[in-house]
């Protein structure tokens, strides 16, 4: 018998940190950490010294100061008296807008082109290949600038629309001009918003219908046709509710509110008393839109002043920037009160019946070209050409990469799957949709996430076309006017970091849920 003895208890020596593999990795990590901290400390120290040398302080106080510059595309209320902080938020929203629009468009185009590239039709697959190669091999900035140049130089100017040299598209509803695209805008009345829950409920009903069809198919092997029922579920409730609500709102009398020196009893009084009526138009408000139409019907000349929302219009009315606004009768007293509380002494705020109603539950506002003054478009939703150029360029560019990812994903699905599907009698479209793509998705998804991140970060090239994303506001004008490079760039990095991390966390969670569960 051999006796097992414990190895001699070695006492710890310093050299073991280096030569003993149990400790070595630990030692290296500690050293790297120390070096990293030293490096960081050195950088931070330098910043502090340099700031002190230049007599600068490190502070985010500038975010609360007024920005003094204007931004054309703003998704929230903003004017030159707003703060730099708000300008940054406007920029972030613009970044998110173009990123979301871009990701959606890039995915649609990318999947389409990716599938086309695998087409058996030689011409089609070649064309798709040419698209992919030409887009992804040219820097995206050039695409952005090129798209902008085409939009700015090739499309008609507003003055041409006035003169009749250019006409609106799609039955006079859409303006395509070098100032951008103007599309009709839906303006809900105060009841119109009730349509939204109805539509959501309909969509829910659609799902139930689909589930029922699945159940029957599984039981009997025959899938009942759902087309008619689907149309019914979506259309009938919406139409019924629309007409019901319209009946109410078209009985809802509206009033005008004015501010000025004297009491006013009707619009014609006002037209006589003042040289030129200036009308406070709150975009997106049905009362405003109907008031505007009413004035037009009466043939009164007035000047239209556009404001971001009702409260901005009220403030403008109170400060005398415009003199007349429309509102619903029921709320008119509060409006008069709110406006009166803001006016200067001696200004009288009064309301009078307007002889017009709130109209339909959902009104449509069409863009028109102004006939007086500088030619421009009013009404509708304005997609500026900077947005369009950036959006198009980013999506077409990223789509080229996504197409390759999709192609790789499809090729990764074993050909046996297709053959098996064909053997079962599935046609090629269904094979792709039901058999190949669901499996390919698992391969496609992870690289797709990084394409979304790329698109979002590439959107920082926006300033090349004057699109005011967060790089343009916070990292551009604000940086320049306040001289706070350090603070703005750190904030900017934080913004992109947060956006990117949020996108990848969300997408990874989704990926986790859909990936093949291995046991």
């Amino acid at each position: 018998m051999t006796t097992l003895t414990d190895p001699p208890q070695e006492s710890f020596r310093l050299s073991m940190l280096l030569y003993d593999s149990r400790y070595r990795s630990m030692t290296i990590q500690v050293i790297v950490m120390i070096l990293f901290m030293l490096g960081a400390a050195w950088l931070i120290n330098n910043v502090i010294i340099n700031f002190a040398d230049a007599g600068k302080t490190f502070s985010f106080g500038f975010l609360g100061q007024s920005a003094d510059y204007d931004i054309s595309q703003r998704l929230i209320e903003y004017s030159s008296v707003s703060t730099h902080g708000r300008a940054a938020v406007v920029g972030v929203l613009n970044t998110l807008l173009v990123a979301v629009m871009g990701c959606i468009a890039a995915t649609v185009i990318g999947v389409f082109v990716g599938i086309l590239r695998l087409s058996n039709n030689w011409i089609v697959s070649r064309l798709a290949a040419v698209y992919v190669e030409s887009l992804r091999n040219v820097p995206v900035l050039l695409w952005i600038v090129l798209t902008m140049a085409i939009v700015a130089e090739a499309l008609p100017t507003p003055i041409m629309f006035r003169g009749g040299e250019a006409t609106m598209s799609l039955f006079d509803t859409v303006v395509v001009s070098n100032r951008g695209i103007f599309i009709p805008r839906l303006v809900p009345s105060s009841y119109g918003l009730l349509l939204i829950p109805v539509i959501i409920a309909s969509l829910f009903g659609l799902r139930l219908l689909g589930k029922r069809a699945n159940r029957i198919q599984e039981k009997t092997g025959n899938r009942p046709s759902t087309l008619l029922a689907s149309i019914g579920i979506v259309v009938v409730p919406a139409v019924v509710v629309f007409f019901g609500l319209s009946a109410i709102s078209s009985n809802n009398q509206q009033v005008f509110v004015t501010s000025g020196v004297g009491e006013i009893g009707s619009v014609s009084d006002l037209a006589e008393s003042e040289k030129r009526i200036s009308y406070c138009h709150a975009s997106g408000s049905a009362a405003s839109l109907n008031g505007l139409r009413h004035l037009e019907e009466l043939g009164i000349t007035f000047k239209r002043k556009n404001y971001f929302n009702i409260s901005a219009a009220e403030t403008a009315l109170a400060t005398g920037k415009c003199g007349l606004m429309a509102t619903s009768q029921s709320g008119s007293e509060q409006v008069v009160q709110r406006v009166s509380s803001q006016v200067k002494d001696g200004v009288i705020v009064s309301s009078f019946a307007g002889e017009f109603t709130e109209g339909r539950a959902m009104e449509i506002e069409f863009p028109v070209v102004t006939q007086k003054g500088i030619a421009k478009f009013e009404g509708g939703t304005h997609l500026r050409n900077s947005l369009i150029a950036l959006w198009l360029a980013l999506s077409l560019y990223t789509a080229a990469f996504i197409a390759e990812i999709v192609r790789a994903g499809i090729l990764a699905v074993s050909h046996g799957q297709t053959e098996a599907a064909n053997a079962l009698g599935l046609r090629s479209g269904k094979t792709l949709r039901l058999v190949v793509l669901p499996q390919a998705m698992r391969v496609i998804f992870p690289p797709l996430i990084s394409q979304y991140l790329n698109l979002t970060k590439n959107s920082s090239l926006a300033i090349a076309v004057g699109y005011m994303d967060v790089t343009g506001t916070l990292g551009g004008i604000t940086l320049n006017q306040t001289g706070r490079e350090m603070e703005t760039l750190l904030l900017l990095m934080a913004v992109y970091l947060v956006i990117s991390l949020t996108v990848s966390t969300a997408m990874n969670a989704y990926n986790e849920r859909t990936k093949l569960k291995e046991r």
């Binding site: 330098n46 340099n50 007599g55 054309s72 140049a149 090349a464 004008i477």
Partner: protein, 378 residues
Amino acid sequence: MNWHTIGPTERVTHAGGMKMGTNVPGSRCSTQRMYQEEVIMNKSVFFGALTVAGLAAVAASAGTLDDVKARGKLNCGVSTGLVGFAAPDASGRWAGFDVTICRAVAAAVLGDQDAVEFVPTTGKTRFTALASGEVDLLARNTTWTLSRDVDLKFTFIGVNYYDGQGFMAPKALGISSAKELDGATVCIQTGTTTELNLADFFRANNISYEPVPIETNAEAQQQYLAGACDVFTTDASGLAATRAAFESPGDHVLLPEIISKEPLGPLVRHGDNEWGDIVRWTLNALISAEELGITSANLAELSAGTNNPEVNRILGSEGNMGEMLGLDAAWAARAIAVGGNYAEVFETNIGENTPIGLSRGLNALWTDGGLIYSPPFR
């Protein structure tokens, strides 16, 4: 990784290749040029911030004069191209009203007017370039304002052009006053006082506009000519210079309103007063030269000595002004030799006989009813 968060790599990696287009006259409006300016801007702002964080700790405090002498070259920030003020001429040599200031300082300090490295800066990058030490001196149509002086910490060494912001519109637009601009789409250069004045002007007059922010003058010009904006606004001198480069300048009018005061002048960093003094008195020497009748024609003759003591003090045959500045006696004579006195510099670059055709107006000498005035050389 952080690289990616502030800008995709394309900008950086392609920079080298695109740089080749720099300074080719006539290519100012091309897309390539715009692309390259984008590169300049991004690099400059990013590296500017990096320099603050990085190695610059040592460099910042040393005397700029010593740095320039040791380098043998003056780094001078100018615009990316504004004919008459700063633009490369047909042979690629920088010339213009602002460029002459750079050359005069180089001549005074280094004795060679060509010992200048011209650094093109946009409205946006110019201050970062100066603050980070990339340039020693900025001469780029820059307006002297309180916040730039106090908050951005720059020293404006004087005014070489008294200007104001104006509007240019195509004749076809049919307007005769800026008050009629309600609803106009306006091209502006971003990072300028222009965009702030514009916001103020429209707010004060209760009219609306749609700003189109643009990085450089060349792009703004292209957008304006393409009709992407109704009007273009910047300093009136800049408008004149821009219009002069048009194919048919007669189709465009400058509106009568001047909506701001824009005293343009060269500037240096805070904290090095000796360097500021040199630049300031170089400009003053050009102005005094006009007042005292020193011209490029009679400079050599007057340098030998005259019976006007102030002329002698400027040109170095009397007194020790150069020594006080840390230069030699002939510093001012060399500065004046570059392009002549203030009047000559004005006339050859932007005066009435040039395509830009600016009259002296406010920029006449104080003795002629203008504002140009130099403190005495004493």
